[in-house]
């Protein structure tokens, strides 16, 4: 059973992701954010439910749709917004951008812009835990599209033969950019791909944060106990296009409507109100608090300086040599 405090915490995290990303979309439209920006809106229950099943010193690694995971892991909304604005106060000092958020302090090993590429890296983190015989586990988030990449299979194979504490969490939103999973995958039920490696595969409802949390806690317990890797398929839906430049014309409006009816945020609100875990007044208050938090993040980003030109050659290497290029 998830405690009332935890339910409220998860609600707040989902709402923060939703509101901050709505604001990110506006800032993108205003030209304050450049490059690629992929919104997580609709999928919030997965990051929130799954990451809350972990300890704070477990590892999380991600794809380019990484704003949500960064925040749930404990990343600062101001550092997120500043990173997107390309400011020196960003989590990666403005050098990463939307697709490359990372937070060493919170064991968040970053987003990569290459589909599937984080999988072997996640397994390497798991190898480090097994090597040291510590009890940390690693959780890797990726989309359905990643499961057709070669390195995804290489990673699962390594994790299995070496019995590593890694949980692979597939956020199956049914589209690899604009291509329907039925056109791209020989096998569309991602969790069953686990059978190819003889590891357990679980199917969960990624639109229900309580289910995600509970099921992930069970899997976390098994994996931390030495059961080896596991694959979780969380079915979910991104309400926006693949990135800011995608109007999403490849999807039927009726399909989108159907998924919106299952929106995880009002769903949890209803559950908590029904169970009298929270009052409507408290929810309204939370909405206002988050709005203020988001505005503070935008203001912080706006007022922060850009990285100075002297930073161009910084952070290349720990050990510098006289012949290295420098500003």
């Amino acid at each position: 059973m998830i405690s009332p405090t935890d339910q409220i915490k998860m609600y707040r995290q989902m709402l923060l992701i939703r509101r901050i990303e709505e604001r990110i979309a506006e800032c993108y439209g205003e030209g304050k954010i450049g490059g690629f920006t992929h919104l997580y809106i609709g999928q919030e229950a997965v990051a929130v439910g799954a990451i809350n099943a972990l300890n704070q010193d477990d590892n999380v690694i991600d794809t380019y749709r990484d704003h949500g995971h960064f925040l749930v892991r404990g990343g600062d909304p101001k550092a997120l917004m500043a990173e997107l604005f390309g400011r020196v106060t960003g989590c990666c000092k403005g050098k990463g951008g939307s697709m490359h958020l990372a937070d060493a302090e919170h064991y968040f090993f970053g987003g990569t812009g290459i589909v599937g590429a984080s999988i072997p890296i996640a397994v390497g983190l798991g190898l480090a835990s097994a090597y040291r015989e510590d009890d940390h586990i690693t959780m890797a988030f990726f989309g359905d599209g990643a499961t057709n990449q070669g390195v995804w299979h290489e990673g699962l194979n390594f994790a299995t033969i070496w019995n590593l504490p890694v949980i692979f969490v597939c956020e199956n939103n049914f589209y690899g950019i604009g291509t329907d999973v039925r056109l791209s995958s020989a096998f569309t039920e991602v969790h069953k791909k686990a059978a190819g490696y003889g590891i357990p595969g679980y199917l969960i409802d990624g639109m229900d944060v309580m289910e995600v949390r509970q099921r992930c806690e069970e899997v976390v317990r098994l994996v931390r106990g030495g059961a080896g890797p596991a694959l979780i398929e969380a079915r979910c839906y991104r309400y926006q296009g693949h990135s800011m430049t995608d109007p999403g014309r490849y999807r039927a409006r009726a399909e989108e409507e159907l998924w919106r009816k299952r929106d995880p945020i009002p769903r949890l609100a209803r559950q908590m109100l029904d169970a009298e875990v929270v009052t409507q007044e408290r929810l309204d208050e939370m909405e206002r608090e988050i709005e203020a938090q988001v505005e503070e993040a935008v203001r912080f980003a706006d007022e922060s300086p850009e990285p100075g030109p002297e930073m161009l050659y910084e952070h290349m290497f720990r050990e510098r040599y006289p012949s290295d290029p420098h500003a």
């Binding site: 397994v123 390497g124 290497f317």
Partner: protein, 326 residues
Amino acid sequence: MREIRFYEALIEAMAEEMRRDERVFLMGEDIGLFGGTFRATEGLMAEFGERRVRDTPIAEAGIVGLALGAAFGGLRPVPELMTMNFAIVAMDQIVNHVAKMRYMFGGQFDLPLTIRAPGGGGTQKGAQHSHSIESWFVNAPGIRVVIPSTPHDAKGLLKTSIRCDDPVLFVEHERLYSVKGPVPEESEELLIPLGQAETKRPGRDVTLVAWSFMVHDALKAAEALAEEGIEAEVWDPRTLDPFDWDALYASVARTRRCVVAEEGWRTLGVGAEIAARLQEHLFHELDAPVQRVGAADVPTPYARNLEQAALPSAEDLFRAALKICT
């Protein structure tokens, strides 16, 4: 001083660093029970066990990705790519991840991993198994490229690479493994800093720049040139990133002539960069255009005569030097 072979120097380097630091471990295809396709990890599984000498599936991108993840996790992995040719399979992990994740994340993580990879041609292994593609990685900022030519340098540089807190690609030449050379006793710690070139033969008339196996061809060419009354300096950068530019400029400013030799393809090779920098820095000191010797721009052919025609040789170096010295 005692003489040992190049592969024995590598084994000593890895064994010493593994004894010194529990975080150092090896992983790669057939490196354990089999002892390594080029014997470069022979005996290490017997000493360090399966935990620290890990045989892997044939999955090069996975090997590099796992090593990177383990480095993120605080270990100091030394993955072996069975050959440099397979680095092409792992290119995304090496270039997009290993080389970028420190910079891209604003310096939050140290990534101490040393990727060993034997490469090079001249043994009739055909087009896909004869690559000298170190220039590709020098072109990608974020990874050090170390490429020794002697057992001494191999040992000292591998130990330094493993202790380095940054990613290193450590390139070995397949034809160097059996080469013997002087190496101090194991009781004497041998560490060679990255970014320090070494003059393998002093000379005053022309600088022959060469690394890896080509150093041995350059030494042969220098012998032949000496018979013509030309004193060639053989200059080995030993590491291509960092590169000891100041030492190169000093040598060429003295000799006023330079030939760059590499086994990789000539077009856009490391030699092209060296020639470009020399004319930028020493235009008025040069008595002749910088010459480049490299492989013909074709996939390496199998037939012995064609392979020899495709790859650079001591004779090519000799002729290039003669052309600008007379």
